[in-house]
């Protein structure tokens, strides 16, 4: 018989390393034609940090996303960005890139102020145009203003670095503020349990994630869907089996990750509760996406058939064993 159940899993996740300094740096070079070169240490391993960091810089400088060339993760060229881990690059390298852009922008704003004869905070840069607040029609091109800087021998470059405001943990009590900001999530899953074979199928995953600000919503969804799928693998399929120190599952034939056919309908939901210290409010999402999935699935299995599986993965063997015990 097949029985359905619904389960919930929640999580919180501190962004960045735990109670330890973990700074990242960035360089911005705003060029004569108003295009930008951004140099960051952050390694893009597929999650898309290069894209997100370019968006942050483009936003700050009032240029297009395509105007930003990103050179990343090259110790000969870029400052240290720290590890691509702890869901930290959007938040930490993002802040570094933001600060570097702000520093370069200062030079341009200074020049614009003189050109327009107004106070600096009156000047706005948007869509590669520089104008005084409320007088958008009276704009100068960014190239013109940067050209003005050049004529005075001013470089429009900036550097930035960011280290989250944290404290170390007390050795005895663990007391402290180990992270500056936290991501939160709730996932609700629906499963179907075959009570005769013990097989668990996940039918739908609803994943609501507070990411602070979604710099790139499509990429955020991609993280949520990919992370939940890895969480599904953790819940049901994956296990490095080790006997006397030897891995018995040393290949993709024996170590099984989810295939396209194992993935349920996904409902990624983005919640934006901004982090005061994040770039445009952003937190992080890479790891949070995976964290609650296996918990939600375990709770859904209980909801479906009334058994508590307390050892991962939730294999058909364990489900059948428990069902038999319950009878």
């Amino acid at each position: 018989m097949k029985k359905r159940g619904v389960g919930i899993g929640c999580m919180w996740y501190g962004i960045g390393n735990t109670g330890l300094p973990n700074p990242a740096g960035a360089f911005v070079d705003w060029k004569d034609d108003a295009t930008v070169s951004l140099m960051v240490g952050a390694a893009d391993i597929g999650q898309g940090s290069n894209t997100v960091l370019a968006q942050i810089v483009a936003e700050e400088l009032g240029v297009g996303y395509e105007d930003v060339l990103v050179t990343s993760a090259d110790t000969g060229v870029t400052p240290d960005g720290g590890a691509t881990s702890a869901s930290r690059q959007t938040y930490i390298s993002g802040n570094a890139a933001h600060l570097a852009a702000q520093e370069a922008k200062k030079v341009v704003l200074e020049e614009a102020k003189e050109m327009f004869g107004v106070e600096k905070n009156q000047v706005i840069i948007r869509d590669r145009r520089v104008f005084v607040k409320g007088q958008e029609e009276n704009y100068k091109s960014l190239e013109e203003v940067i050209g003005g800087c050049r004529r005075k021998g001013k470089m429009t470059i900036g550097h930035g670095w960011f280290n989250p405001d944290t404290t170390g943990l007390d050795g005895e009590t663990g007391a402290g503020s180990p992270y500056d900001t936290y991501a939160f999530a709730t996932q609700i899953v629906e499963v179907e349990v075959d009570t005769e074979t013990g097989q668990v199928e996940v039918l739908q995953i609803i994943a609501a994630h507070d990411v602070g600000r979604a710099i790139n919503p499509l990429q955020v969804e991609g993280q949520i869907e990919g992370g939940s799928t890895m969480g599904l693998g953790l819940a049901l399929y994956e296990e490095v089996k080790v006997l006397d120190g030897k891995i018995k599952t040393p290949s993709f034939a024996t170590y099984l990750i989810p295939t396209s056919m194992d993935v349920p309908t996904m409902h990624p939901l983005i919640v934006e509760e901004p982090a005061e210290s994040g770039p445009f409010g952003a937190k992080g999402v890479g790891e949070p996406a995976l964290i609650p999935t296996s918990a939600a699935i375990a709770n859904a299995v209980f909801n479906a058939v009334g058994i508590r599986i307390t050892e991962l993965p939730i294999t058909p063997e364990k489900v059948l064993d428990q069902l038999a015990e319950n009878q």
């Binding site: 390694a43 663990g174 507070d210 600000r213 990429q219 296990e239 120190g245 509760e273 964290i291 709770n299």
Partner: protein, 421 residues
């Protein structure tokens, strides 16, 4: 929130064009003139004293350019993100199956493999320990000299004993979680070459600046003589934070004075890379009759395997996150990082939090059941909100969107599942 022009828009990824065209040059795709191929000889035993390695036959094989053992490492011969407890090549003690012993650079992969088969190794096997709870006992075989309990992270808040004494609901469960492989589709790989007196690496990595420091330290080079460039990286998930091919290829490029490349096979990747820590979690929750949390008392044992890698960081994060996203006035957590002769566990997407979530979320459901409220109610009742205090005493003034995630998920569940939890 402020309306923005570029932020908040789903712009095209910077790297997507090259990736869909198959033009991205991952490390294993890079071919340099005169490039040699590298293979690593690894230990088939889990715990042993290394007595002797005889490489003479391998060295004299035509096409072999360099055969290096621990003796050829100029300095340090250690690496590790938190503790430098892992040898680049084993000098005296093998601690796990797959520990690296010899690296070879040869004209082809086939010759390099054949050279490995000519190497004679003498070792003396030692009693090994594979169970973390066994490893914590004083009589267990010692993986490292300092003992098998690598570290303990403690969290203490409030008065646990009093809370449990007054609790209406106590839920106590033991949980176990498995060892997980990162399973990025691109196995570890890298190339190294000399640019004047600088050794340049293009590698699949999550942390080039760390790699640079580790290579420089082991090769006794200043940091400005080592340049690490991250190649397009086919996934990492934490598994490419540790050193893999980096030090070997840097060493061999310098020794052989030729570009070198090392691409792990899938099996070697599985054997040599870190894994998600398997956990034993003993979790005890106290709540009042309404389901309001009063205390948690948690013991976490993480099997970090033969080397620390990110183990202490992972267990620390577990300890901090053990409460879940809930307000818990009284907290006791002891999180142990334990050495065994198992494969090394390190950073893995979620860093010790998925394991704890598996536990605390089932605890919450059990508390709800006992209190006669729904799983959602118990969470809303205990949720961290603005100005809540965490288990480490941190007050979260802003940026706490937890309740909204519950509400949004609940609404969606009603819509697509027709019910909630």
């Amino acid at each position: 929130m402020q309306e923005l022009n570029v932020v908040g828009k789903s712009v095209r990824r910077k790297d997507a064009l090259d990736k869909v065209l198959g033009k991205s040059q991952y490390s294993g795709d890079i071919k340099l003139p005169g490039m040699l191929h590298v293979k690593v000889l690894r230990s088939p035993v889990a715990h042993a004293l290394l007595k002797n390695i005889d490489c003479r036959a391998a060295e004299s094989l035509p096409g072999v350019h360099a055969v290096l053992t621990a003796k050829d490492i100029p300095e340090s011969n250690t690496h590790g993100i938190i503790i430098k407890d892992e040898p680049v090549l084993v000098m005296d003690k093998i601690r796990k199956i797959g520990d690296p012993l010899v690296v070879v650079a040869a004209e082809t992969e086939e010759i390099a493999l054949r050279a490995l088969s000519l190497i004679e190794v003498e070792f003396e096997e030692l009693p090994a320990v594979f169970d973390p709870e066994e490893a914590m006992k004083p009589e267990a075989p010692k993986v490292h000299d300092g003992g098998n309990i690598q570290s303990i992270r403690k969290i203490r808040k409030g008065d646990i004993e009093a809370a449990f004494a007054h609790a209406d609901i106590v839920v106590e469960t033991s949980y176990r979680t498995q060892m997980q492989e990162h399973a990025y589709i691109e196995p570890e790989a890298g190339v190294a070459y000399l640019d004047g007196d600088v050794v340049v690496l293009r590698v699949s990595t999550q942390n080039p600046h760390f790699d640079c420091k580790e290579v420089a330290r082991n090769l006794a080079l200043p940091l400005n003589k080592v340049r690490i460039v991250q190649a397009p990286t086919g996934g990492g998930f934490g598994g490419k934070l540790d050193i893999s091919v980096q030090i070997y290829i840097a060493l061999l490029a310098i020794r052989a004075k030729r570009p070198v490349r090392l691409v792990y096979t899938r099996e070697e990747s599985m054997l040599a890379s870190t894994k998600r820590h398997p956990y034993v979690i003993k979790y005890k929750t106290a709540a009042d009759k309404n389901g309001k949390l009063m205390a948690i008392d948690v013991i976490v044992i993480g099997d970090t395997g033969a080397y620390a890698s990110y183990g202490p960081g992972t267990l620390t994060r577990s300890a901090v996150h053990a409460t879940g996203p809930y307000e818990v006035p009284n907290v006791r957590v002891d999180a142990y990082t334990v050495y065994t002769n198992n494969p090394t566990a390190g950073a893995c997407r979620g860093f010790g939090v998925p394991q704890l979530a598996f536990a605390h979320e089932q605890q919450m459901d059990m508390v709800a059941q006992r209190a006669g409220i729904s799983p959602i109610q118990v969470r809303l009742l205990n949720a961290l909100r603005p100005n809540s205090q965490t288990g480490t005493g941190q007050v979260l003034e802003t940026g706490v969107g937890f309740v909204e995630t519950i509400e949004v998920a609940q609404a969606k569940a009603l819509e697509v599942l027709g019910r909630i939890c």
